[in-house]
């Protein structure tokens, strides 16, 4: 009804912004119906401000007037004296219509805005859920798998290096060296073996036995407490030890002590040594009684080995040479020279 043109007017001015708004508000349509513009009206009837005069479209002028809430007469039926009652009535109607438009615009905008936000926010929520319950666990799992894979690769490399090290060992030379070394550092030793060996050395040095008592013990070798990481770790070595007592000349006693240390077939160490001299009237010479504590050490063969434990293909060359020399001196095996030649993996 508002937009229905009449023959009397040149232009119909739409008051509301959209046709929908107009349809939604019949009052607005009613109130705007009389507001029509005519280019034939005299300039005296217009109360439009000077700046709006420049506007070419009459409907725009009316729209601006409505928006500014000013009693304005552009043209048409409202032509007349602004101080007249009809004029005020129409102006009040315009004002009322504009207020209704405002409220409805606000409602429509609010509804539209809320409707527009539901989908993005729902999408955002779904995205967050996907990230929290899918992406993050999967990502974490990937990182963990990568770490585990890296650890596996390291372990594999270590095993391969170890296998290469073991393969580089000359097995026949190792067997020969181990056989010779096992004569000096025995796998195990009976009490009688140590007693017989000490007795043999004493007799070789012209000493007479006085008493002996031997027992199995476990000894701490102090120097073996130096661990690779610098921490003090006591290393227990099986040993057989006991007090021995012999008598003879001072030279024979010192020679015996030297043989125990350097020329015995079994590795031995001396504890406390006590020497007491006395004059033997039967022999008519000074005789020394020697009381000493002797320990013979053993090392059992390694029975178990861990795959992760690293291994070295080299051994202490100096120590091996000393051991081989000792077995050579004892003349029991006669293969130390060969062992020395073939031990290619020593330090």
């Amino acid at each position: 009804m508002a937009d229905q043109p009449t023959e009397e007017h040149d232009t119909v001015v739409p008051v509301s912004s959209t046709g929908a708004e107009q349809a939604a508000s019949p009052e607005v349509a009613e109130s705007t119906a009389p507001v029509e513009a005519s280019s034939t009206e005299s300039p005296a009837s217009e109360v439009v401000p000077a700046e709006e005069e420049a506007s070419s479209a009459p409907q725009s002028e009316l729209e601006k007037a409505v928006r500014k809430n000013t009693p304005t007469v552009v043209s048409g039926d409202m032509v007349g004296d602004p101080s007249s009652g009809e004029f005020h009535k129409k102006a009040s109607s315009i004002k009322k219509g504009r207020e209704i438009i405002k409220v409805e615009e606000k409602d429509i905008k609010l509804t539209t805005r809320l409707a527009d936000l539901i989908v993005p926010f729902a999408s955002l929520g779904v995205l967050v859920l996907i990230i929290v319950f899918v992406f993050i666990p999967f990502g974490t799992e990937i990182l963990e798998t990568r770490d585990q894979t890296r650890a596996l690769a390291d372990e594999t490399r270590r095993n391969e290096a170890k296998a290469a090290t073991v393969r580089s060992i000359d097995v026949s030379a190792l067997d020969r060296t181990l056989k010779s070394v096992s004569q000096v550092v025995k796998d195990s030793m009976d009490v009688s073996e140590l007693a017989i060996e000490v007795e043999t050395l004493a007799l070789d040095n012209n000493l007479s036995p006085r008493k002996q008592s031997v027992s199995d013990t476990e000894d701490v070798v102090s120097s073996s407490s130096k661990a690779s990481n610098g921490e003090w770790v006591p290393s227990y070595t099986s040993a057989i030890s006991g007090p021995f007592s012999y008598m003879g000349s001072f030279d024979d006693v010192t020679s015996f002590l030297n043989d125990l240390r350097n020329n015995s077939r079994t590795i031995m160490s001396l504890g406390a040594v006590s020497l007491t001299s006395r004059y033997d009237e039967d022999l008519d010479k000074e005789v020394w009684n020697v009381d000493l504590l002797i320990s013979g050490y053993t090392a059992e063969p390694v029975q178990t080995v861990s795959i992760a434990e690293p291994i070295s293909a080299t051994v202490d060359e100096t120590a091996v040479q000393e051991i081989l020399l000792r077995t050579s001196d004892s003349g029991s095996t006669g293969e130390s020279a060969n062992s020395s030649d073939t031990g290619g993996n020593r330090e």
Binding site: D3, D10, P14, S17, T18, T112, D116, P120, S123, L127, I130, V134, F135, F138, I142, T145, R146, T149, L152, A153, T156, N159, K162, A163, V166, I169, L174, T177, L178, V181, S182, V184, V185, S222, S223, S224, F256, L257, N258, R261, I267, M268, S269, L270, A272, V273, S274, L275, T276, Y297, A299, P301, V302, V305, I307, I311, S312, V315, D316, A319
Partner: protein, 186 residues
């Protein structure tokens, strides 16, 4: 007579809103695309990392089998190393007691006769003997104190004079600690 405009003009605000909605739709499309691509990427990474892990596991099993096959040699090598280590440890801890006792006897017996000597693996020693005067005991003490390289400290534990049928005899006893690092050079 002018023309009648039945279609209302679309205000700028509405135009902007429509444009904004279009942008939101593009954003939505890209969001979905992002989710799809990210999902595919993560699944692919997961799959490849699992495959890599399985491959490395198999390699580890193979390498362990290889090491196990060489275990007999390894046990022998470790036994040799253990024995050599035991030997070295004992030798490092040990010292030439015969040399040290001979040295002690030489130092003391110039001016006296040694009746007993004691030496333990901590290098603690004691020497007992007899001589004919206190002066000789003092000289012996002085001689030992002069050997700073070998004696960490020397104490005169006791000294006493006894009268016998042959005359007087001075009995003495020294004790102290020797320096292990240096007596090896004796």
């Amino acid at each position: 007579m002018g023309s009648i405009d039945l279609l209302p003009e679309i205000p700028q605000e509405e135009v902007k809103e429509i444009e904004k909605k279009g942008k939101l739709n593009v954003f939505g499309v890209f969001s979905v695309l992002f989710v799809v691509i990210a999902s595919l990427a993560i699944l692919s990474f997961n799959l490849f990392s699992r495959l890599d892990y399985n491959r490395k596991s198999q390699q580890l099993v193979d390498s362990e089998g290889e090491v196990r096959a060489l275990q007999y040699t390894e046990l022998k090598q470790r036994t040799l190393m253990a024995k050599v280590r035991t030997y070295s440890s004992v030798r490092e801890h040990d010292f030439s007691s015969d040399v040290v006792l001979s040295y002690l006897r030489d130092v003391v017996s110039d001016l006296s006769s040694v009746s007993s000597m004691y030496l333990d693996d901590a290098m603690t020693f004691s020497v007992r003997g007899r001589t004919d005067s206190y002066m000789n005991v003092a000289r012996i003490w002085h001689n030992m104190a002069q050997q700073e390289d070998y004696f960490e400290h020397v104490n005169l534990d006791y000294v006493r004079m006894d009268k016998t049928d042959d005359g007087t005899v001075v009995i003495f006893a020294f004790s102290g600690v020797m320096i292990k690092e240096h007596v090896d050079n004796l």
